[in-house]
């Protein structure tokens, strides 16, 4: 894509004309708008996005406080004090520890034992309705 995207040297520091932008949003720096230099026109109506050739007044700061979910939600995962809301939102869940894996294994084994000894079967909605209508427990033999 280099041939399409890299502007000629003489226009690098000039204000970009809106008429050649594919996405004429703003008078941002050229770095933001280089894709707009495709020699190609979109179907949508073009609008002038600069006014009087003035560039915006630029301010540089380190950070800013925003009313984001990151600030509203505090995550507290037992055993993972460093886990943050952003970690979980990005899908970066902490790996389970050896103790947790062992505990899960024991829980599954225990559940299997209980299931076998008590002969628990899923109680479906239709079974419940039938039992209520007939006023008796289903014969489980």
């Amino acid at each position: 894509m280099a041939a399409m995207l890299i502007p000629p040297k003489e226009v690098k520091s000039a204000t970009i004309s809106d008429s050649i932008l594919s996405s004429p949003y703003l008078s941002l720096s050229i770095a933001a708008w280089v894709p707009g230099l495709y020699r190609w026109q979109p179907a949508e109506k073009m609008l002038h996005t600069t006014f009087d050739g003035q560039r915006p007044i630029v301010f540089d700061i380190d950070t800013i406080e925003l009313p984001t979910a990151t600030r509203r939600w505090k995550v507290s995962l037992p055993g993972y004090p460093a886990a943050t809301f952003d970690d979980l939102r990005a899908g970066n869940w902490p790996e389970p520890t050896e103790q947790e894996l062992e505990a899960r294994h024991k829980a599954i084994e225990l559940a299997r034992d209980v299931h076998e000894k008590l002969d628990i079967r899923p109680l479906t909605t239709s079974t419940i309705i039938r039992q209520l209508r007939e006023g008796k427990l289903e014969d489980r033999g």
């Binding site: 941002l28 933001a32 979109p42 996005t49 630029v58 990005a90």
Partner: protein, 223 residues
């Protein structure tokens, strides 16, 4: 593909009152409207280094540029957070356009020239111009219900990739497939609500994500 930068832009139907103090003063003193809309004040741009974010408020546009984007939820959250703060200060005029422009890359396992050849085979019908070309790119306009998208993509080397971003990512592959999706909605003067903005950013990024997967899938068939 990996999402590296997002620009959300609100395009207003008329200049923000914030930038028209002389017009307001003229009207107040003379009880007449200025014949020509004068906008003597320049726009405002805030560069926030730690968040790798730019906020731009100029007479006809309000925009946020997010670099180093971890996920879609982060984008929605921060965009809504910024616009909520701006709305606390100034009432935004009705919108005529909403845009979500995102850049995506996929690291290439083959050289630049091999990737160019792959694109030629997939995107273009063979011709002498196509065969002679040393670099290619493609642009399409796609429709998505009431939305539309200017979609451009092609192979790119790191030297060119570096100048694409408002905030250069810390590590970039040597050769990538680059995808630029400008998802937008043109409308008759519509009042902005937080719900509308949230849904638009979600829709734009989910659409772009879907297109990026589609491009990767198309390219994979030829590799």
């Amino acid at each position: 593909m990996d999402l590296l930068q997002l620009i959300i832009e609100l395009r207003h139907s008329e200049p923000l009152r914030l930038f028209r103090p002389y017009e307001e003063l003229y009207r107040s003193l003379t009880e007449k409207e200025l014949s020509k809309k004068e906008i003597p004040l320049p726009g405002f741009q805030l560069n926030i280094s730690e968040k790798r974010m730019q906020v731009v408020v100029d007479p006809r546009h309000t925009a946020i540029v997010l670099g180093d984007v971890p996920n879609i939820g982060y984008c929605v959250d921060n965009v809504v957070g910024v616009f909520r703060k701006i709305s606390d200060l100034v009432k935004l005029p009705p919108l005529v356009r909403l845009g979500a422009k995102s850049y995506w890359i996929q690291k290439s396992e083959v050289s630049f020239s091999e990737l160019v050849s792959t694109y030629k085979q997939i995107i273009y019908k063979s011709s002498s111009i196509v065969e002679d070309s040393i670099d290619v790119g493609a642009s399409f306009i796609l429709k998505d219900g009431k939305y539309a998208a200017n979609v451009a993509f092609g192979p790119m080397e790191v030297s060119q990739l570096k100048i694409m971003f408002a905030f250069e990512p810390p590590k970039l592959p040597e050769v990538v497939s680059f995808l630029d999706i400008d998802y937008y909605l043109v409308m008759e003067q519509t009042e902005l609500t937080e719900k509308m903005l949230r849904e638009f950013v979600n829709a734009g990024l989910n659409y772009a994500s879907e297109q990026s997967r589609r491009l990767v899938s198309i390219l994979a068939k030829e590799e």
